[in-house]
Symmetry: C2
Subunit: 224 residues, 2 copies
DNA sequence: CTTGACACAGAACAGGCGTTCGAGTATCAT
DNA sequence: ATGATACTCGAACGCCTGTTCTGTGTCAAG
């Protein structure tokens, strides 16, 4: 049989080990031993696990403290147990904004992008957080959505929404954040600011939904 | 010499061990061994460390996986490495709101309160996060501060502020959130919403500051 | 065909590490 | 005094664990 890959990138076993270490760490709050990795990964020899661990370390995917039991850790802040690193794909103003990220990326990657760390407990428990992305609001164009300059909005990819959810929609060639309501024969896009009037769309002109707003984060301290 | 305490509460060594385990975990991403705890805590015998670990476990402060090396972990979500648990002291509307919490509490406590977990990376790096507390906004009374019903505002105790910081102030027997500016002969309290007019106070009537706003968190998903 | 890099297994070694036990000291209520 | 309780120490036992070494099979290059 063929071993599929030779020397470049992550093989199936690399990935399996990486995944297992992360999962184990999340569940037990301490890293697995070499033997535990082997058992759960279908590797019968500790030396082989060690072999892969060495490679993963050279690739920079993990860090090891030799001689120390369970001295393995996933590199990068993205490896956190109870925090989710959400990439900031770019600024958002009134203009069009960047679309969904490459779904191929996962938390293993350590690319050079800005990101926010969000506690998992702040997200819905069922939310795996896979496709989540964030945008940084520039300018005052979203004040009617109660979103300020500098705010960070966390989005979840979606092309449709249920009533009451806040979505990013395109209306008149502009992107805005509005609460979405589908009513009997119309769509109602309600601003977050209760003093403002909703936008009403006829049934025939269904708005283009670009994502649901999961969360808005405003940091006030940076200026100090 | 006397040993100070007998059987009740946390002794000096309990606390020392707890602190060390937490620090070690934070630095190394894996828990310390019994011997390491002993060395750094000034306990020469592993059995003594084990002795205290047993007690801490009975108290519910830690959890142990016996027989597993480094199988110690601090109990509770508050023990997170990179997340800070901030207690929600109560709702805030237009009325007066609860004041600073008992400064004696620390992250070790597992009291029954609502709380939000905030990634440390979202806070200023120097912020230890000791006195931070959070309030849940009820009602629309703060829309001019760009804060909505249901939002969570994270506060830091303060009785004075620097220019540009957002503070909770009492004006005319009402609490509001405003950007604070001390100008040459007056105080200017600027709403976050740029379309709204500031409140001007004479030099003589310095506003009562109840805390700085560190962060605002809005979750949109719960309704779904 | 030989050679060597690569992927893997298994066994053995040595030190790490949790556990247990025997024993000593100090404080306090009886 | 006396025993009970809390606390401390040191050493030894034995499993846990990382490391290392030998060996096997595959595959591509020379």
């Amino acid at each position: 049989m063929m071993m599929v890959r030779k020397s470049k990138g992550l093989g199936e076993r690399h990935q399996k080990i990486l995944d297992f270490v992360l999962t184990y760490q999340r569940e037990n709050r301490y890293p697995p031993s070499i033997r535990e990795i082997g058992e759960k990964t279908g590797i019968t020899s500790t030396s082989v696990v060690n072999y892969y661990l060495d490679q993963l370390e050279k690739m920079g995917k993990i860090e090891r403290d030799r001689k120390i039991s369970r001295g393995v850790r996933i590199s990068g802040a993205s490896a956190s147990i109870d925090t989710l690193r959400i990439p900031i794909l770019g600024p958002i103003a009134a203009g069009p904004f960047m679309l969904v990220p490459d779904p191929g990326i996962n938390y293993m990657n350590d690319k050079e992008y800005d990101a926010v760390d969000v506690a998992r407990s702040l997200l819905p428990s069922k939310e795996k957080g896979d496709g989540l992305y964030a945008l940084e609001v520039k300018g005052d164009s979203m004040i009617d959505a109660m979103v300020n300059d500098g705010d960070i909005v966390v989005m979840k990819p979606a092309i449709e929404a249920r009533n009451g959810e806040m979505v990013a929609v395109r209306v008149n060639d502009e992107y805005t954040l509005k609460y979405f309501y589908k009513e009997k024969d119309r769509y109602r896009l309600q601003p977050a600011n209760p003093t403002m009037e909703p936008i009403i769309l006829k049934k025939s002109e269904q708005p283009e939904i670009n994502g649901k707003v999961v969360m808005v984060i405003r940091r006030l301290d940076r200026a100090s």
